[in-house]
Symmetry: C3
Subunit: 656 residues, 3 copies
């Protein structure tokens, strides 16, 4: 902070209704300026000021960025990645499995905890931040990996066979010869190494949580700030963290969600990030640990957008919303990642809009927090399948990753106002869903695929894309006809695939028009066995093959999409599946840019959010029981229309 | 192989007429699982099964990929390249000049040879695979290079002068000071280092061949699987191997040829690769060691294409055709490089089409193998000129390489059905040709250029492009007027050159239309001395200069193309030269997409192949003596039309 | 030189009027072939031949490229940069602060000086060449940097505060812990390191100059060949050298200027480079140490252009013009950077045109050299602001650099025939100007900004762009409302900024038409306080904010351009400011492609140059006192029109 203004800050926070702040994260060099020398004065100062101002505090452990003295004394705390040893400077440059890092991290965490644990302002703790393995892959990590492999594979023969290591003389005939996975061309090995790196993250976070748990008081929580696959904003699911596994050690899930605004604001990332965070802990409410205020220069929100975003988080099940950050920073990397306040610390339009959010939250929180959501559709996401798919994508040089397949499907569901959860292979309650969406389940064990067959047999409906079922859990391609085990439920098979070149769907079967009737990037040459064909390819040579099939199997159906479809076709096929499942409902009468989300509040009433993600007014017909619009406090009759301002919203609580 | 199915494989090979397989290549880690521990059981197993099934075997030495234990014990077997030390994982990562690599490579080769040499299934051996120096450039290699330079240059003064090393203080005043060539900015030095690296390849392959020759039986052959410049497919000539020199140690030339298919299939790469392989050993037939079956996803062949490709290889002089590979691999880098069989090992359309090829080969081989081809046109290709051209291209940042100049000329000849050989400067029979095509002969000795002058004087016809004759064999630009020594034959000269900006050929002299009448990328400001001008530049400033000239010299002509021309103009100028040479013949009545190739079979009869490289039927008028179409066994009268199916063909044997 | 032809070269130089050559630069390996072994024979030979031919000589110290023996003995002379240790081969690869380099550089310089100092051909010396720090950043350099920081910052607390190092735990709590600046994400630190690197250059050049000064004779000069930011040609101001500081040790400024020609020749780089060089030494005449003759292939000049260029240099104040280089080089990196002669050493059109320049220079030099220029407009350029701006640009991934802002403004002034100087913050005579152009003065001390406020108050006129005044001299963003201190003079303020998306200027206030009325890349949301608004944004949301304002402050005006404007709008706003300043004059009636430059010659007469930078004839009306056109020796009456040939010119000396 360039000058002392803590009291002023607290006052301005109070004026905007801010009642929680997160502090201490990334401050190792201030808390422990030299090895074993501790200084908690700045933490005390802020804790006391916040407490005095009625603001609660989340304490972050400071381990996300390492101090200079630690690196000078123990250079090996910096990770060695495939591109060489890391340099001092950025955050997230350390090897989280390094012993010297762990010894000093534990000491500073314990020292902080001992010092702050009794402070009344604290409501919870965040362990580390946006933790990943940061591609640590040096010799010490390799040693850990070999130990991991010894445990996992009882013999090298099994490993060589499972991974096909005879190819190009990669066979490992002695554990001592085990080469670094960094240079491998074998996706079985690289995917296993990625799984091992995810395990490092899970273990590291559980280790930190365990330390903090020794000190935390009843009622306090431990969380982590998980983040999504970053493409200049929060785009899709992570491959670097197994969120479902890592969240187990947390009391509550936390996430950061960053997204475009202005003309590009759709709410999709808010919805996606929320669905991920909520699903991590089996549907429990979550914390939005960070989201943008002004953010990047191109993200300065239009009037109404900050407010629209805030309530959208709640509508997905968030119980808290924190901005990164309070004020804009005057030096270093995030100078142009602007906070609620600009560098001048003065009120500005974004801050002023935040004040209205604070007021409404204060007034309506009791109705809005702890929203319970129950979905009938889930997307099956597997870190293993994602990593394995990404290893091959659509061939050498292809840029598409798993998220490029999955995100458009998510977005199609979002536009159709179909609410979803995410499920991972470890879930035990797949059967709670009526529809499973399975994008490119590239690597999967026999048992998972058999379970998916049973899901259909028992009355479930599955939407599969291409490449699902293709390889086993070791990324070995199945030796059966494709798509392997799931062909039983899908009633189709293929042996060849190619890249479409001027291929369309025969006869525009979904009536989407020529521009949308195209086949992109990938096509499997599908032959139905028992399935009916929803679409054939239109092409001089490939026209005899099916593109999309649907099979009745047991009490359910399995729909298989063998090619990359346009968004319009994706929507049509999804609609087909959802109608099959009998859950096409009232919410589907509303479509993007008008978005609806719902849940049951702690009073047991249904809450319906309606958001207008556009610059022009919108109108929805409210299809539910008469209720009350909470912002205006006006009654809304069933089947009456409700007008939404540009970037505006309504929140209707059904009357009992 | 994920499960045991060798007998089934042999049966399916038999069903498709496969009568040769190549094994053991890249299997070092299975053959020698630990240092000095050998296990030949998998080789024996396959050899015996193949022999039992009547299938002959080529044994590959396994040195193309190194085992883990070798790298662990002798890390220096991995090459150090300009980007640093190689990593374990990929093939082709070793330093082929490394002593530890050589010692262990020799031992494993000898052990295999001792073990297999008497097996009756073996017809020949392949030494290593797609061998190159892989840019090995570490300190040990540098030491070898200095020794090479000491031998080549008797004194540093000569070297400094020849390479112009005074420039930027690069002068070397003591052999001890000789710096690594890796960082040099001097193309004379980098080109010499490239030549030295090619010599490493030649020596290494001769060394392996010598070892294998000690064991091989009469009638068995030694070959190598040479490959072409790779641009996602086999594009053009190699700079990393001197094919003409390296092939000397082989009994028969081998090559791999990969190419686009589907709508992009032209046959040009099959023709080019065949012409290169045939020319390596002075016109002898060659083996296609590898070509694609299904290949990349985008290469799954349309019906008819696999067959069209197979016979096209024969038409260029191939005596064998092997697919890489029998079945698709279930793990690692080439998972999506699909074989004849998909991962499911079941018959598929590509395999089914291969069965027809097998049947026809079995029936017609006697008429088709050992085809003798005699061409009157040769393309002069020189590794030295190619490397030197590439060092400068068209200036800083230019992406064009020598192949970007040469390949369009090759393709123009291909489209015109002008059959060519490749000749390199070491050839002794230049005079066998009527026409020489000389693309960008950037670096050449005085004697080579004088020989080309004599070639013209004695009645030959040369088509030169720009930049030919520009520098000597040490990549020192000539101090005479350009194009140096060949100006005598060319009758023109230039001193300046520039990059064309909206330049065309004056008056569209070749009547190709505005779109094709352009001058691209490079233009020399040519002034004729005795030559006539075929085309002037059209430009406000450069309009007084000639673009293309033709000079009568002695009994021949030299045509000089001073700029990069469109394909249409290239064709017109080539036609002009070929007509000059009096060899514009009946085959030139046929044009791409209808392709004709011919030769004399072992019965002494002319064989004429006609290929239709298009998706629509084509018709040719058969201009030769009445003959028999071998596939249909129907008689074809002279001057009668023959219809070719889409992607179809005819093979006519002239009657005596 | 491939063969002996020194006498012939001197004769051809004489024929083209060349009377100065530069030699010995980069020849360390010839002058000192082994450690301590010296050979001056080639210098003597050339010196004697030139003297005999009446040609004067500039001797360059040879330190720009290091010999092989030095690198072998002292590998640490090669700089370690952020990408690793440099390799031998290129020039400019050394660490100019390295002790071993310095010891040997000093010895060779002294040996040369001792040997040549009395030679009568020598008129001056050039120390090193195009010197920079070449991003040297290894451990030894880091040690020097820490010493520099200790001197600059009395305590680490001050440093931590000034640079905001608490962020991401970058705080430095002990000088021993000071991490390398290479990995930093803190622009305050990286900008300080850049300033330190510039200081290395200043110190190194002063050190060389001091050595040479010990030997040089009265009347001889010491110069440096400074160069500009290189983008394939001389584009803009350097960040790697503080030209104003480094030039202090020189007797006369030297520069190299390279630029596109043919259809892209505008003269702008000649003007810009000249203005920079002239400004380095406070308006004194300068030497063009290098410029192209034929240059790159794409730069072969059209007829007339070489001549036009030569006189353009004089018109900006050059007193000498040297071509790089006499003849084209036959080996190595600059083979295609062609000299006056091609590789054939024969006359060619470029050389022939140079002969006319030589003749005219010989005839007119007395009228043309030592031209005194007095400008009323200056561009404020600060290495600190430039480096700091570049650190952030317009956000992550933005490619624009400071020169992308400043150069279009320079070009607009050039097109309008407004002559400018460059001023840097160290200048003492800011008040000599009526107009200051201040592009993106991103980092600036309070005192500089206050001085700019005073400049306006006292009657000056300032044209500011966005981002000026934003941060202090340590690249800490100011905590006041933006644009910080200068808002006093500018009468406007802003707190938010964004990236324009379909934003224009409301009502096309400058009547430039739709295509040019756009707002690009960056927009600040400006609110005027006392300023009047020259342009508002047109946009549904941002339309209430100002884009361009102008404020009367004291006796002057401050114009603030808050967004990136089109060239057309930039010209209009500049015109507005220049008119305000009352200096819109007769030269502004002429516009590009007709360019005019003027000054007072050593006879005290006004010289007016008129250049036609186009391929079509142009006409100007001569607005000054009747004078004589020096090339034709014809009288030109006031207000009479003068026709300029394509790429032609006129030089009019006003009569007394």
């Amino acid at each position: 902070m360039p000058y002392e203004r803590l009291e002023k800050d607290v006052a301005m926070m109070n004026e905007s209704g801010i009642n929680v702040v997160r502090i201490a994260e990334s401050t190792w060099s201030t808390v422990e300026p030299q090895d074993g020398v501790f200084d908690f004065s700045h933490i005390d100062r802020v804790l006391n000021a916040m407490h005095k101002g009625g603001i609660q505090v989340i304490i972050g452990t400071p381990t996300y960025a390492v101090p200079t003295w630690l690196v000078r004394k123990y250079p090996d705390v910096l990770a060695i990645t495939p591109t060489g040893p890391n340099r001092y400077g950025p955050r997230q440059n350390m090897d989280i499995s390094n012993k010297n890092f762990r010894i000093h991290a534990e000491r500073v965490i314990r020292k902080i905890m001992e010092h702050v644990k009794d402070h009344p302002a604290i409501i919870g703790y965040q362990v580390d931040n946006e933790t990943k393995a940061y591609n640590t892959a040096g010799p010490a990590v390799q040693q850990l990996f070999v130990e991991y492999m010894k445990t996992k594979f009882s013999s090298l023969d099994k490993l060589n066979k499972a991974f096909g290591l005879d190819y190009w003389s990669n066979r490992i005939n002695s554990w001592d010869d085990f080469p670094s996975a960094v240079g491998t061309v074998n996706a079985s090995l690289s995917s296993e190494f990625a799984r091992f790196q995810r395990q490092l993250v899970t273990d590291y976070l559980a280790w930190q949580a365990k330390i903090v748990n020794e000190y935390k008081k009843p009622g306090q929580f431990v969380t982590q700030n998980f983040d999504l696959d970053w493409r200049g904003y929060s785009y899709g699911l992570q491959t670097e963290v197994d969120h479902f596994a890592a969240a187990k050690a947390m009391d509550i899930a936390g996430i950061d969600i960053y997204h475009p605004t202005q003309g590009q604001l759709t709410g999709a990332e808010i919805s996606l990030g929320g669905d991920v965070a909520r699903s991590m802990k089996g549907g429990k409410n979550y914390l939005v640990i960070e989201t943008e205020a002004q953010g990047f220069p191109q993200w300065v929100p239009y009037p109404g957008q900050l407010r629209l975003q805030a309530f959208s988080h709640l509508a997905s099940g968030a119980n808290m919303l924190e901005y990164w950050h309070w004020h804009s920073i005057h030096n270093s990397a995030e100078t142009y990642w602007k906070g609620l306040l600009s560098h001048d610390f003065e009120p500005n339009p974004t801050y002023t809009e935040a004040q209205t959010i604070g007021r409404d939250f204060a007034r309506l929180s009791n109705k809005l927090v702890n929203l319970k959501k129950t979905n009938q559709v889930a997307i099956l996401a597997s870190s293993e399948a994602q990593t394995a798919f990404n290893a091959f994508s659509f061939g050498w040089g292809a840029k598409e990753k798993w998220n490029d397949i999955a995100r458009p499907i998510y977005d199609a569901l979002y536009r159709m106002n179909v609410s979803v959860d995410f499920a991972d292979p470890s879930t035990s309650n797949l059967e709670a869903y009526k529809v499973l969406i399975v994008p490119a389940l590239y690597a999967a064990s026999d048992s998972l695929l058999e379970r998916l067959n049973r899901f259909v047999k028992n009355g479930g409906h599955v939407y599969y894309t291409f490449k699902s079922g293709f390889s086993d859990e070791y990324v070995k391609v199945r030796t059966t006809r494709q798509p392997g085990i799931i062909q039983e439920a899908c009633g189709m098979t293929y042996s060849q695939f190619t890249i479409p070149d001027q291929v369309t769907l025969k006869g525009d079967p979904f009536k989407v028009g020529a521009a949308d009737n195209i086949v992109k990037t990938w096509m499997e040459l599908v032959t139905p066995t028992t399935a009916k064909v929803l679409a054939y390819y239109e092409h001089p040579v490939w026209g005899t093959y099916a593109a999309i099939t649907q099979n009745d199997f047991g009490k359910g159906t399995a729909t298989y999409v063998g090619c990359l479809t346009s968004n319009a076709v994706t929507e049509k096929v999804l609609e087909n599946v959802i109608r099959k499942a009998g859950i096409w409902g009232a919410d589907q009468a509303t479509r993007f840019p008008l978005i609806t989300k719902s849940g049951v509040n702690q009073q047991g009433n249904m809450i319906h959010y309606y958001f207008n993600y556009s610059a022009t007014p919108g109108t929805i017909t409210y299809p539910y029981k008469t209720g009350k619009e909470l912002l205006s406090n006006e009654t809304v009759q069933s089947n009456k229309s409700v007008t939404l301002e540009p970037w505006g919203m309504a929140i209707i609580e059904e009357s009992r």
